[in-house]
Amino acid sequence: MSKYKNIESLIEKKKSEVSDLDTLEKFRLNFLGKKGEISLLMKELSQLDADARKQQAEELNIIKDSVLKFVKDKTAELQNEAMQGQLTSESLDLSLPVNSQNGTIHPVTQVIEEVIAIFGDLDFFVAEGPEVETDYNNFTALNTSEHHPARQMHDTFYVNSSTDNMPNVLRTHTSPVQIRSMLKQKPPIRLIAPGKTFRRDDDQTHTPMFHQVEGLVIDNESNMSHLKGCLETFLKSFFETDSLKMRFRPSHFPFTEPSAEVDIGYKKKGNQLIIGEGDDWLEILGCGMVHPNVLKNVNINPDEYQGYAFGMGIERLAMLKYGISDLRTFFDNDLRWNKHYGFSSINIPSLIGDLS
């Protein structure tokens, strides 16, 4: 027994000298290296007789195992300490600000895409027409003759036409898309046409350019009752409420007969408009049954086909839904406004996901 007393006390002494991974490696070599103390003692065992060898080998192995265990544990301990040290030294001030440059989608684009999502789901395709129009498409074909009083309400912008005596116009509504589409396609027709429109008007509540969306349905049976159903479905989806109140009022547009204006119920709460509650009415759109003369003008037989049309202002929809109080700000291009009222670039309105 006493034979290994020395080495055991040496081990204990050397252990206390281990302070890091380097000294630990030295310690390991000192005892377990090829010429280490324990390794040498192991070699000496071969010179002993069998019994003594067995007994001493047992003893020596216990010592060796304890050294091995020490090395393993100490390695883990020291590595852990080193990691802790690294972590402490590497910590950062995460309160420092980071840059972000998010783009935005203009509310007009957002609302047009919402409108398309809703009507697309009702099987309306998206038709288009040019912003510069012929006088004929913008007025005459829509049952608005040259001297119709309704023309004066339009305050039309004129541009020169090279081909015609009549100047061209900047379309005053999206309705000429009805004409272009009906000339291209036979019924059944079910379309919407969002786009830019222009009127020579500039004050608190008018801008010389604005956006509308037109709707047109022509088939064998669509009537005012369908028109009501269609608009109710749209308005409920758009304003994301089931409790929408809607009111039809007689009105006049040369290209529809009967014609109606549609109001929705709302109430004001502080600065907020709440659609779907309250007893006040807000005008939201114009509509009606397509006038037989319009159908005749595009060679569709009004005795066989009928249908409805509607038109509404995109900015107005946006203002009501998103609480934007001033129409003119839409086109001011004040980046503070665009960043505030703009929408996330990756939000694409959908009835399956989110509309807004």
């Binding site: 099987d123 040259e146 007689p250 006049h252 839409f330």
Partner: protein
Amino acid sequence: MKFTISWLKEHLETTATDEEIVAKLTALGLEVEEHSDTSKAFSDFVVGQVLEEGKHPNADKLKVCKVDIGKTKVDIVCGAPNVEKGMKVVYAPPGSTIPVNQMKLKAAKIRGVESSGMMCSEYELGISDNHEGIIRLKDDSKIGQSYSEIAGLDDVVIKIGITPNRQDCLGIFGIARDLAASGLGQLKVRQNNSQKGSIKSPINIETKDTDLCPVFAGRYFKGVKNVQSPDWLQQKLKAVGLRPISALVDITNFVMLDLNRPLHVYDADKIDGKIIVRESKKGESFNALDEKNYDLKEGMCTIADEKKVLGLGGIMGGESSGCNESTENVLLESALFNPINIAKSGRNLSILSDARYRFERGVDPQSVLIGIDRATELISEICGGEFSEVVIAGKIPEDDRSVDLSVERIQKRLGVSLDDKETISILNSLGIETKQKGEAISCKIPSWRQDILEEADLSEEIIRIKGYDHIPITSVRISEKVNPAILSKGQKLISKAKHFIAAQGYNELVTWSFSFSDDCQFFGDNSKLEIVNPISEDLDILRPSLLPNLIGAVKKNASRGFETFSIFEVGSQYKTSEPEDQMNIACGIKVGIRQKKDWQNEKSLFDVYDSKRDLFNLIDHLILQQKKLTIIDEAPDWYHPGRSATVMLNKTIKIGYFGEIHPRISKHYKIKERINAFELLLDDIPSIAKKTTNKPMLNLSDFQSVSRDFAFVLDQNIQGYELIDSAMKVDRNLIQDVEIFDLFEDPNLGENKKSMAIKVTMQAADRTLKEDEIQELSSKIIEVIEKSTSGSVRS
């Protein structure tokens, strides 16, 4: 159109409340725009009397008055020229609201003198445009009495919007007729009092053009006194916003408002010979009653005598034959004019008048004599004198419009169930006479409904009276689709482009489709883009490009303190002012600071490579497969020639530009920073039909890839892509990628020389490349590049 409830009730027997009347008007399509109880608006105003009137110590034009208002006496500072001692006035106390501007009055010191309330003009009360002095009330007005009582303003005033088709409701009688039809009361039947004249008219009437003026009826009045109108008449006119002028004029206005029958009165002594209704001739002009002179164009409907133009028929009379207080003999006109001619002339001369407004919408032809009769009653009563027989030139046009109606078709159009009985009852209530005609109902349209021409018009009448609320709601969720696609390829491109560009950090703007010619001079040919009647001088043409307005937005926001701009617009620009010359463009610009100096980064500015990257990424996003993008060294004039390029798709299709905007344009806009832009010509992106939804086969090699770096000394004008292209061509199988990783200039390299270094990645599909293969490829790359660029490899 404004009217009062009490005036309405002169024609309508009803027990309905004001609220019910208002609701019904709107439900009938006579939309109530305003309705105000004037007795409330004027409730604070009382009669006062000026007791003393003296000079203001500190202001020449102001006076200090002591005014008795019944309960007490107050001091008021007043600037009106007509204020005088003893005068009865309308007093507005502090705390009251002045109708014209909705200002709340406060007691205040005016130039150092306390003033408690004010004395009002008609303008301030919103009852007329007259602001020359304060109102002088009659001397017998009772001090302290409410002004609304004595002015007859204790009534509910309703303003309705009348759509262009409803000319029949431009008179209060017509409004009553519509309300009665809807069941709100009984129309009081008017008894027309047609009186025979006692003298012969000395003024003959001749109509030369019965198309312009089918009928002109005139009556001569002798020995009238054109006095002030009686109170009842003045109050009626004032209540609806008209200023009383004189009895004769007020009577014509009254008949127009009451019965929708425009009339005109001429001072008969100022007419030379007979009245001639004819087309105007070139060079004629006249002074109208609005005190303006108008040069007439050929073909306008002129009322003339044998020497001069008296007025424009149906639009406005002339000053030369106008009535004033000394008028004794009068010719009253009640005529019909051609609506189109009136509309044209009125627009041409920009004259607005109540008569024009009515005639261009169509006046009831049968009202010609009714108007004469009603005005005769009133003139005799108020102005006295004798009158002649009615002289009529031309004749009242026959109007026997009749429309056949099928109840079945009406139901089909409205989606409402109706029977014959209800239909006929509604039609009759509107004065439409009905007769069964086989299956159909034959409807005789009354003369006052000039707008009803066909069955569709009747369908509106029926549902209007029945009530739009009775239209049921039918779902339009359909089972059978009629549209194969909702969005076209072009529309999808636009939407994708917007979202992608925004996702790269740009803010979407929507700018005017118009622009300023001065700003657009740099952007191609603008000669065919002029707007004939622009909204303002600086928005005078259609935009030839999206850039001018976007750059303008940069300028505007820079002055708000912004230093960094990533803005874009997707929209149309125009080549000419023809419908087919409109193009869809996606345009983005970056200006100013890309990265501001902060704790982490150095400051950097946007440059043209930002625009290049954004454009190329955008194109990658929009055109998924089978494309090759190259750039050519040219671009439109608005780009810096040395810092711009055109992007070609598959070498043949120009699809966009990017570059720095030409410095002369930045200078024009006074923008110091460089403007970097891209434009993508969305309409020129070919729509390549997808042959398969499969993506191309992906072949990945498992063998090791190696890369080698090469640096070359090159002439300045050698472009990066030439190195990449040349290297790629050496072996398209083995060379996987070529990347430029270093670029610098140094005088040591030689004059006009630069160093450019590339990293070439090599990999084989079937083996690991051996050192000698790599060596061989490397030598070839050096050889090919040295040859193609006349450069030399740097060792």
